[in-house]
Amino acid sequence: MSKCKVVISTQKTHYKLGDTVKGQVSVEVDKECKCDALVLKKLWSTHGKGNRSSGGSEELKLFQGVWQPGTYTYAFSFVLDEGPYSYHGHYINIDWYLNARADIPWAIDAKDELEIILEKDEANPVENVSGYQLHESGENPVSIHNIGLLKYLPLLFVVVGVLLMVFEEMPIFGAIFAVAGSVAFFKIIQSSIAERKLGDVECLVDVANLSAGDRVNFTISFTPKTNIKINSAHVKLLGQEVAVSGSGTNTTTHTYTFHDDKIPILAQNSFSSGIPVRDKHILRIPDNAAPSFIVPDNKIIWTVVIEIDIPRWPDWINSLSIRVKP
């Protein structure tokens, strides 16, 4: 059987958005060898604690035919015109790869892989980087409070859980569903219970066009329904990696918090019934913040979390995901 060796080489390993990756694929064969296709592929892929996700795939067919013994080189070039940028975190890493594969009939394919780094050009940042698969954030400040009928969604889990227990002979799985649904329902309505004392709480977060280093305007306002004391209140800006490994019942979610900035809010701790309360703060996204990145099983997310701790009463807790642009 003939021996075929494939090696990818490039001029450098580090690139900026818009750069062209130039290189060559070398093929060495010791006997006559038929090749159905020599294909070079560029793609990004995650690695780390979560199931691997990939995208941005682009292929070049470099050769098809018969190689006589010898060494052959095939030049290639790709333009790196979309993200994501390379990222090395704790549970999530994103890297770009060049992958060459010679499809040889009736033999193990010869292949090689080369990793490259796509970095942000800090001197000339690109305004709109594609490849992040995020929905656009709106222009207006977003209210955290308004979730409407969605708060009743966890009750669906409770119903499904009970049905599974009764009709499907799945008592353990059904019980897990029902308990998880009940806990989620309480978590959602606990803020509504807190509002029996606080009144309707409105939090406005200015979410439009946020990037690393930007300031986020945050406003909280409410009019207490009764005289009320609180233990503490704060707003947090969280940056987290959420990686999911396994599938089905073996699914595990791994969360790593890489940024946790907590600011105390509401300077006073007692409030009078009917007197409006309004407080404004500014949260700062760090200069080196990783952009938001959302693909199945691997997410880099930024969240604003507000907590008001009320003594001997359910706390008011709410959160809002914000999008940090690359």
């Binding site: 690695h47 090395h88 890493n93 990793e115 002979e169 089905g248 019942t249 073996n250």
Partner: protein
């Protein structure tokens, strides 16, 4: 930004998640005695163990020898439609109800499956000759090979790479028994903070 894990001469954290193809490639399993018996009609092989012991890896490796056989991964709540197949490979068979399992038994000649609970009585009643294999990688030398193979698989280039020795394996066994998944999680965290190529320590 440096290339990932280049300071360890690796391409990625060896104890991160692998895809099923990579798991098959790196599987260290003992299926020598059972590898041919599914060709005989009326045989059921069950791989028995708790979570994280390597049942699926065993089933995937056995399936490599029967590429034509139907392989189904069953998730909770799934209700697969079992058409007749000579050999079925079922991952997580306990995720379907007893009624569905009986339907499966009627529609296959031989079965290989993974399960947390011993189904031998049920399989016997369905007419199968049952072969049970309790999955447990408790042998220090095998564990050492499993983990060092994963480090080797993530190698970046020629030269030294981190090594796991028997002392570390024994410490991991004291901490986690035969729970390989927990050992892998421990080692993942270790490799995230490993600063240079060396013998890995707990």
């Amino acid at each position: 930004m440096k290339l990932a894990f280049s300071h360890l001469n690796l391409k990625f954290n060896p104890f991160g998640e692998l895809n099923p193809e990579q798991r098959k490639q790196l599987a260290v399993v003992d299926i020598e005695k059972i590898k041919n018996i599914l060709n005989k009609p009326g045989v059921a092989i069950q791989f028995l163990a708790d979570h994280g012991r390597g049942k699926t890896t065993h089933l995937l490796s056995l399936h490599e020898l029967y590429p034509e056989a139907k392989y189904i991964k069953i998730f909770s709540g799934d209700k697969p439609d079992f058409e007749f197949h000579e050999i079925y490979f079922i991952d997580s068979i306990e995720n379907i109800s007893k009624k569905q399992r009986n339907f499966l038994y009627k529609n296959s000649s031989s079965i290989a499956c993974t399960t947390h609970t011993d189904l031998s009585r049920e399989l016997n009643r369905a007419g199968y000759e049952v072969v049970s294999k309790r999955v447990s990688l408790y042998d220090e030398n095998i564990l050492k090979k499993v983990f060092n193979d994963r480090i080797e698989y993530s190698r970046r280039g020629e030269g030294d790479i981190p090594v796991i020795d028997l002392r570390l394996i024994n410490s991991l066994k004291q901490l986690y028994g035969d729970d390989i998944r927990s050992m892998e999680h421990h080692l993942y965290e270790k490799f995230q903070t490993l600063e240079r190529i060396d013998n890995v320590k707990v």
